[in-house]
């Protein structure tokens, strides 16, 4: 069973891992690559344990050549309502 459902915008882009990540309760990170997303994969796995996440996203966002659009917006410096 999927540990949780997480929207792609709540995942963080990790430059080092070249993947979108989300905290895993074991202490490691759930991970999914842009290529995975482009292929329609919706499961983000944790390399350290058996848990996995279901990623909620719009596949079309990852179909274009440029991936810029798909990255979550950078957090703003001050309060945003």
């Amino acid at each position: 069973m999927s540990y949780d459902d997480v929207e792609i915008e709540d995942m963080e882009w990790n430059q080092e891992l070249q993947a979108f990540t989300y905290p895993c309760p074991c202490g490691d990170l759930f991970q999914i690559t842009k290529e995975d997303l482009r292929l329609g994969e919706e499961i983000a796995r944790c390399p350290s344990c058996s848990l996995y996440l279901t990623v909620i996203y719009n596949m079309e966002d990852f179909q274009e050549k440029s991936n810029k659009k798909a990255e979550p917006p950078k957090p703003q410096p001050v309060a945003v309502a």
Binding site: G27, Q76, P77
Partner: protein, 440 residues
């Protein structure tokens, strides 16, 4: 020097600090990066004297010494260890940047850390001797990942050294609680001139005319900041948590996307992500439990409540916190549905093996739970047993395997060599656990 050596020897003899569970980032302080399925005695910390308290985060740990010095170890990739670098270490190191401050409160979040310097003594001095408020008291420092504004420095940058949160420069802070992507702060009582200066105990307890607002900053998407009835994506500037005005808050907690506060009369307020699939709550909501609560521990999908009578209750836990349906397990009783705001929550009483055993302390990891039983035990149990249940894949239950447990199990510690009559204290990080055996 000789004294220090004696202290080290004594500490090693007493075997005061133990750890187990996920160890890949060095968070167990064992010197290796292995998971440990059973409690391991930590030799490396003994040189710093008895550890007063611990706070365990996603994969790092903060420890407090009696003199208010701070030690950190574990994952440091975002600067959460406060040593000015982005490396992980299984070796406990003093946070040099905080030397000179007497730190009284610590909190480790997923990838960030909060430290509060002492406030009480100085307030007392100020009141009795009319000294000016010392800037170093009641100050809050944060370091680590700041991507969501959870460090409170009005930006989203990360900090490799503890940096004072300037917003609170003129507002003395008492407590800090770090969650996954957010931070809560409880102010020390704003002392009114009308209170009796001679009543020191009243000042220390925060009794009398004292206002203690709660602030939140960082990610607010699940309502965990409690700062608005509308959805707030994030704020990097602290804002007052709503709905707690005129309530004397004694304790704040944060873990995952959950937040809670306990009032002096034992009432529980929760906000943030809903438990058991309940709706998220955007402002603090009084929990509908009919007993006074003495302690609270938050996981990622469950909360443990310790009643003043010494009973443990669990809120939520529809995932690994309990694994199966709570009503079906023999270890639980009194399952009932309570209301928190608009939605319903399931609360379950956890029976620690024997029905009349009392619990004195609780701790929650992301998906596992632990408690310490009190003295009123039958001889079958040791005085002050450590019991764990929940998710066990990394050995975080300390039971020698990687199985999950739906009911509390006794953790076997080599008690003969442990600190005589000391009651153990348990602390849980996301996927690991620590026990302190020091005398309080």
């Amino acid at each position: 020097m000789e004294e220090e050596e004696t202290r080290v020897e004594e500490a090693e003899e007493r075997k005061e600090i133990w750890s187990w569970g996920a160890g890949t980032d060095g968070q167990l302080a064992t010197g290796s990066l292995q998971d440990e399925l059973t409690p391991r005695f930590i030799r490396s910390l003994s040189a710093y004297g008895p550890i007063v308290s611990l706070s365990c985060g996603g994969a790092h740990v903060i420890a407090l010494t009696p003199g208010g010095r701070v030690l950190t170890w574990g994952r440091g990739t975002s600067g959460q260890l406060g040593h000015g670098e982005t490396v992980s270490t299984s070796q406990a190191n003093i946070v040099k940047q905080l030397e000179g401050f007497v730190i009284t409160h610590i909190s480790a979040g997923w990838n960030h850390s909060g430290f509060v310097s002492g406030v009480f003594m100085c307030s007392y001095l100020q009141l009795v001797y009319g000294q000016d408020e010392d800037e170093e008291t009641g100050a809050i420092f944060t370091c680590g990942d700041g991507s969501f504004g959870q460090l409170g420095h009005a930006d989203s940058s990360s900090q490799l050294y503890p940096r004072q949160v300037s917003y609170f420069a003129s507002k003395p802070v008492e407590q800090v609680a770090c969650g996954m992507r957010h931070t809560l702060v409880l102010l020390a009582g704003v002392l009114k001139r009308s209170c009796d200066y001679r009543d020191l105990s009243g000042i220390l307890c925060g009794a009398g005319n004292v206002e203690k607002p709660v602030y939140g900053f960082g990610s607010g998407k699940r309502g965990q900041l409690g700062i608005s009835t509308d959805k707030v994506k994030l704020t990097s500037l602290p804002q007052i948590t709503m709905g707690l005005e005129n309530i004397k808050i004694t304790c704040i907690h944060a873990n995952g996307d959950h937040s809670s506060a306990l009032s002096a009369d034992g009432s529980l307020y929760t906000w943030g992500r809903g438990f058991c699939g309940a709706l998220d709550t955007y402002i603090p909501c009084l929990s509908d439990v009919d007993f006074p609560i003495s302690k609270v521990a938050l996981g990622w999908n469950h909360a443990l409540l310790l009643s003043r009578q010494g009973y443990v209750f669990m809120l939520g836990g529809d995932r690994h916190g309990v694994l199966s349906d709570p009503p079906k397990t023999p270890s639980t009783a009194d399952v009932r549905v309570t209301r928190a705001g608009k939605s319903e929550e399931i609360i379950t009483r956890i029976i620690p093996g024997l029905a009349n055993v009392k619990v004195v302390q609780i701790a929650a990891g992301a998906e596992h739970s632990a408690f310490i039983t009190g003295k009123e035990m039958l001889k079958f149990f040791h005085n002050g047993s450590i019991m764990t249940w929940g998710w066990g894949e990394h050995g975080q239950l300390g039971l020698g395997d990687t199985n999950d447990q739906t009911a509390p199990q006794v953790v076997g510690l080599d008690r003969k060599s442990a600190c005589g009559d000391a009651i153990p204290r348990v602390y849980c990080g996301s996927g690991f656990s620590f026990v302190l055996m020091t005398k309080i």
